[in-house]
Symmetry: C2
Subunit: 196 residues, 2 copies
Amino acid sequence: MRKEKLEELKYYIEELKTIKSVSTNGTFLKNEAYEFTLSNGFVIKREKLIKGNNDGSAVIIMPVTNNNEILTVVEPRVFTKETVGVGLPAGYIEKGEYPQDSALRELREETGYIPKSIIEVDSFYQDEGCSSAYNHIFLALNCIKKYPQQLDKDELIRYMLFSYEELVELEKLGYIKGANTKLALAKTKNFIRRKI
Amino acid sequence: MRKEKLEELKYYIEELKTIKSVSTNGTFLKNEAYEFTLSNGFVIKREKLIKGNNDGSAVIIMPVTNNNEILTVVEPRVFTKETVGVGLPAGYIEKGEYPQDSALRELREETGYIPKSIIEVDSFYQDEGCSSAYNHIFLALNCIKKYPQQLDKDELIRYMLFSYEELVELEKLGYIKGANTKLALAKTKNFIRRKI
């Protein structure tokens, strides 16, 4: 791991830490409950998580630059013990949007980078017991910086470049802890190792 | 893939499919909203998912038998497109419970098997944007059937045995789609391949 990279990462983590929280009213998360009859006659009750009137399906992007570095984001993850998370660019799919278009949009908004090509490498249910959220992992290749970062007013994202090996090291060191990024790292490993 | 195994799996999937659903009232999922002040002075709003008065932290168990087969569960996943999921035994950590004890309890309840030894192989946030749920992956070795299955009245779980390679094939075929099982398969791969 390059020492200056770890220093930069720690700087962002300090900057984005939560120092205070107050309870307020929410409008984003909602729940629905249903009773389901199964083919064998059994009846069960289950509850479903809704995110902003959608099911919360998301995209995760592994963006690789021409130098084989990977764009990595640092952002507040206020409900985690660390209060700041390190991971890959990601975001919710908007209504009517194709997953690949979400991936390109999220990558551009969060970092200002655009890729030369993009492919889907895997997809999965985020939390299949209580949600229909279905997430897609994309590999975005030959990414170059073309636009300024363009965040929502409630978003705060720092991005930086690491090699794939450094990301694996960050995961081992406990900086990367989210399911989405962990799965994306595992599912792109063979491709990245082949390419680099 | 053994043909009779795929037949058995398809039988359970048919049996557990949802054929009807009606809206009802829920008590399990809840939300909380907060305003967070960050170290750099920025203020952001975030909402948190609560599951049954806990944060929804869970355990996932990769249970290996003396024959190097892996206990796999089939159960209703009513919010997925397939309405039935195939994956590893898993469940929520109860209040005050150590993750390893949850893993032993869930494995016993869902299958009646107990292991000779158990080790944690990884842990991760399930959905770090809106939850503090922190999940633990366990590898349970030398599992033997000792008890009857012991399910809650709202649970319906079939279990069967596959080799690790068959599980990987089931993932490729699209039977295994949940983040938890996918991550557990990826994170135990080296261990399983070394052992078998």
